[in-house]
Amino acid sequence: MMMQRIWNKLKKRLLLIVIILQVLFLTVMAGLNYVVEEFGDIIYLETEPYDPRDVFYGDYVHLNYPIEEIFPSYWFGSEKVKRNKVINVLLKPDERGIYKVKAASDKSLDPNEDEVVIRARYLYKDHDNVRHVTYGLNRYYIEEGTGEEFDTVNQKMIVTVALSPWGQKKILEVDELEQQ
């Protein structure tokens, strides 16, 4: 009886609650973005040279990273890891400030001062025992007509990524690397 009354009361208000929740969700989603930009760690990643033919798929650039391949000497985790399991990758900047893989594991990793740990999803192990992972950073949406254009040449790019303390990642910028 009591429950019924509460439910009836709630049901009347439910629509309003649902609308407020949706507005809140969208606002928080947008707000978090500024938080990540403001307070997140900034790292720089290098992309693999890409195949010009399938760079553009819809209105985004497809990005591949060398750090998506983890060589056996860097792997410190279990021998068998299930596909899609979340793993940790420890990145350390090289002399140019580009972050490279130092260690990876399905267990937790302790970073030093200048290192960062980012989460990735385990994909598979190939014949050479190289483990393939993804960071979910493979798409960069380009806004048409805003002057952001990417040549479809076979070239490396530098991606600026912000990392939030709670593990969210966000691509800030994609720049073409000057060829040396």
């Binding site: 649902v18 609308i19 969208l26 947008a30 798409r139 960069y140």
Partner: protein, 398 residues
């Protein structure tokens, strides 16, 4: 259109003395046209909305990000208010459409914000949030189409996760089974149950293909739904839950007969055989208890006939025939016309498949079509005659 039909028909009823003119007026007044004015308002709102939307879309890139957020939120809230207004004006139909539009704007909003700020969506998180909102919206406004939208969001989310990330999200599936499943149980509506069963099948078919590596695992999930249909005694739920997996398994077996021809043999897991055996035994016990012995023939469709090696192809034909003949007999015995039609259709399809595969190699094409047509016609003729006597008996019985 219907109104015109009713007007003409009822006039005839009056002329024939079936009803009196007053009664006709009373009937006609029941089916008065909808409130035309709100249709105009609705269309105008829709047009204005569309014009705003196309204007926004054309200038989307130059609008500052915060304004874009504001536009999305305003549109969404606007449609919710519109829905509420329509409900107040006793126009639930337009109210429902407005709610569905608002729900779509919310979903589109999540992805637009994600795209705008270069969020990395590594999971089907967006779909989970969207599906929860659809669920809550349904609880507050139980329109069938809102339920359907929720199911569509869950299904697309599951397939999206599998296609893009090769990940089956169990949270999304839990929301589907517990949240949406409880609605199915409470509503006890046949259409809702059918859509739930179809969504279940699509999701688990995707899971089977992507995770378990082989289609045959689906028979376990199909049988699970079937068993659930046996347990639930509410007919509006029980029938869709049993029929949907049967139709899908039948379709799968037809496809399998094509595969066996190329002597494809999947590797079989011991666990699979064990689970399937236990479930089949439970099903047999439950069906026998209800004294529906003819229904036992339906279970053959779940048998793992690909285990039979070279005999698979032949066994598949037998299973298809046992299934469809069982269905026809069941429909005939229980005086259930739809079941009878279903069995007839299954029988014709089976015959066609067998014919195509067995005869293709030996006959030339025109002869094939000729013979195929004649055989189908003959079987159809026999079945139709039987069906006619059956419906004739039914009418006499009434």
């Amino acid at each position: 259109m219907k109104q015109k039909w009713l007007r003409d028909e009822s006039e005839q009823w009056v002329n024939e003395g079936i009803i009196r003119p007053e009664q006709r007026d009373a009937i006609m007044s029941r089916y008065k046209g909808r409130d035309r004015l709100s249709l105009i308002f609705f269309l105008s709102a829709l047009l204005i909305g569309l014009s705003c939307l196309s204007f926004v879309a054309a200038n989307w890139q130059v609008i500052p990000e915060l304004i874009r957020m504001l536009i999305i939120i305003l549109f969404m809230v606007g449609f919710y208010i519109l829905g509420h207004v329509f409900e107040q004006r006793a126009n639930p139909y337009y109210g429902m459409i407005s709610y569905v539009v608002a729900l779509s704007i919310f979903g589109a909003g999540i992805f637009l914000v994600g795209q705008m700020y270069h969020y990395t969506m590594n999971s089907v998180f967006a779909f989970i949030v969207w599906a929860i909102v659809a669920y809550l919206l349904y609880l507050s406004r139980p329109y069938f189409f809102i339920f359907l939208s929720g199911l569509a969001i869950v299904t697309v989310g599951a397939i999206y996760g599998l296609a893009n990330m090769h990940a089956f999200d169990w949270w999304l599936f839990a929301l589907f089974v517990i949240g949406y499943g409880s609605i199915v149980l409470i509503q006890n509506n046949r259409l809702i149950s059918y859509f739930f069963a179809i969504s279940y099948s699509i999701q688990l078919m995707g899971y089977t293909m992507d995770y378990l590596g082989s289609y045959y695992w689906f028979s376990v999930f199909g049988l699970l739904l079937y068993l659930f249909g046996l347990v639930v005694y509410k007919e509006q739920i029980s029938i869709p839950f049993r029929r949907t997996p049967l139709v899908i398994m039948f379709g799968l077996l037809l496809i399998q007969t094509l595969i066996f021809e190329f002597s494809y043999r999947p590797e079989v897991h011991v666990v699979f055989c064990l689970i399937l055996t236990v479930m089949l035994i439970i099903a047999i016990v439950m069906i026998s208890r209800k004294n529906h012995l003819l229904k036992l023939s339906q279970l053959v469709i779940f048998l793992p006939i690909f285990l039979a090696g070279d005999l698979s192809q032949f066994l598949a034909y037998i299973v298809l025939y046992v299934f469809s003949v069982g269905m026809i007999l069941d429909g005939y015995q229980s005086d259930h016309e739809r079941r009878f039609h279903f069995g007839t259709g299954a029988f014709l399809l089976t015959t066609l498949t067998v014919y195509v595969q067995v005869a293709w190699g030996f006959l030339n094409q025109s002869l094939f079509f000729l013979l195929g047509g004649i055989i189908l016609f003959f079987i159809g003729f026999l079945l139709e005659r039987k069906r006619k006597t059956m419906t004739g008996q039914k009418r006499k019985g009434v």
